[in-house]
């Protein structure tokens, strides 16, 4: 075996060990944090329901909302930490994206953001875990929105294509783009460019984790004409066999999201 191949293998093994340990640690922390957060939520609610001044009411709401926010970060953390193979179902990428974009429409209009979709005609089936794929694309769409909000709006294009045995999904924005020095770390956990603890730094690393667990790829690049593009590639699902169980038939026929 070539020296470089060996080195690469060793490096990959070391990285996957590191990631596995990191994941375990993060899962443990998330669970340890969820219990105290539960108490904070309940007790602040109990206090708010009591006879307190309007100012105290406001202060308690801050405590409550911040605890909710922390809980949300823990949810992302736990999703990222999941290692078990998700139960896979046949899903149509175009439908997933359509649904997500419909959900975001209102928010996007409010921030002067327009969307163009360029979906490959026909079905783009992938085998995947619905809530995870939803989260993957939701994170990317919201990420594009966030960068456009910095420049008071702009345009997002979502493209889907079948390329050989892959489904390629591109999400392009015409915002400020990604500083080149950040490109390398952008999918690392806890990397964030947001100030004052606003971002958890987990959105994109969650995307990376989900893409990888679906045997796919994800990368980011800056566009020549400005703005950034995130590309996800997922393996095209093989068509279910002709003789299949009624459950497969139901899944394939309805292409559940």
């Amino acid at each position: 075996m070539e020296i470089t191949d060996l080195r690469k293998l060793r490096e990959q093994s070391r990285q996957s060990q590191l990631l596995a340990t990191l994941r375990e640690m993060m899962a443990g922390i998330a669970n340890e944090v969820n219990n105290p957060l539960g108490s904070i939520l309940l007790y602040s609610e109990l206090l708010m329901a009591g006879d307190v001044s309007p100012q105290t009411q406001k202060d308690l709401k801050v405590i409550h909302d911040e605890a909710k926010r922390a809980a949300k970060a823990m949810t992302y953390l736990l999703t990222y930490c999941q290692q078990e193979r998700p139960e896979l179902r046949y899903l149509d990428i175009n439908r997933i994206l359509e649904k997500l974009l419909r959900m975001r429409h209102h928010s996007e209009t409010a921030h002067n953001i327009t969307i163009t979709t360029d979906f490959q005609y026909g079905l783009l089936p992938v085998k995947g875990e619905p809530s995870q794929l939803n989260q993957l694309f939701m994170n990317l769409i919201v990420n594009a929105e966030e960068s456009l909000k910095q420049v008071d709006g702009g345009h997002i294009t979502v493209t889907t294509r079948r390329e050989g045995k892959w489904v390629k999904i591109s999400i392009t924005d015409d915002g400020p783009g990604i500083p080149p020095e950040n490109l390398r770390q952008i999918f690392y956990p806890f990397f964030t460019t947001k100030q004052n603890g606003e971002g958890s730094g987990l959105g994109l690393s969650t995307c990376h984790g989900i893409a990888t667990s679906h045997k796919g790829l994800i990368h980011a690049e800056n566009n020549r004409t400005g703005g950034a593009t995130f590309i996800v590639e997922l393996p095209l699902a093989e068509a279910p066999e002709k003789t299949r169980t009624s459950e497969d038939a139901r899944m394939a026929g309805s292409l559940v999201i």
Partner: protein, 162 residues
């Protein structure tokens, strides 16, 4: 079914949470009894025959799910709500298992609003539909309500995720 206020048994190994949950439900008019572990829970279930059990399935000692099984044996028609971590529900195989054991589940950390709707929802079914509680006794459930946080994007998701 009697016309007393429904009795809720809360089982959680975290004392603060236990106390907080108790106060929330007592304010809503429920009778509440509490246990810090599965063994105590089983004892209380035997003595007091609760209508609803709020059960943390991530406790050390007696497995929460084992406790559920044994509680069902001693308290006929009891409705059980599992309190669990979001990650447990993300695993579809685990979800299937949990669905066959509990009448509902709530994820930690939870708000009092969710606890109240879950308990309200189930205690209503205990009182008004005795046939359904027959189903529950045998563990054959037709539906398990999910009072956990949705993984679907919601208005809350407008906040930056990065």
């Amino acid at each position: 079914m009697t016309t007393r206020s429904p009795l809720v048994l809360i089982v959680d190994d975290e004392p603060h949470l236990l106390s907080g949950l108790r106060r929330v439900l007592e304010k809503e008019g429920y009778e509440v009894t509490t246990a810090l572990d599965g063994e105590t829970a089983l004892q209380l279930a035997r003595e007091k025959k609760p209508d609803v059990v709020l059960l943390d399935i991530m406790m050390p000692g007696m497995d929460g799910r084992e406790a559920c099984r044994r509680i069902r044996e001693v308290a006929e028609g009891v409705q059980v709500i599992y309190i669990t971590a979001r990650a447990e529900l993300n695993d579809p195989l685990q979800l299937k298992r949990l669905r066959s054991e509990a009448n509902a589940f709530i994820t930690k950390p939870t708000t009092s609003k969710r606890i109240i709707s879950a308990v309200n929802g189930l205690s209503r079914s205990t009182r008004q539909q005795p046939e359904e509680s027959q189903l529950c006794r045998t563990g054959q459930l037709t539906k398990a309500e999910d009072y956990s946080q949705s993984t679907e994007a919601s208005e809350d998701d407008r906040r930056p995720i990065r």
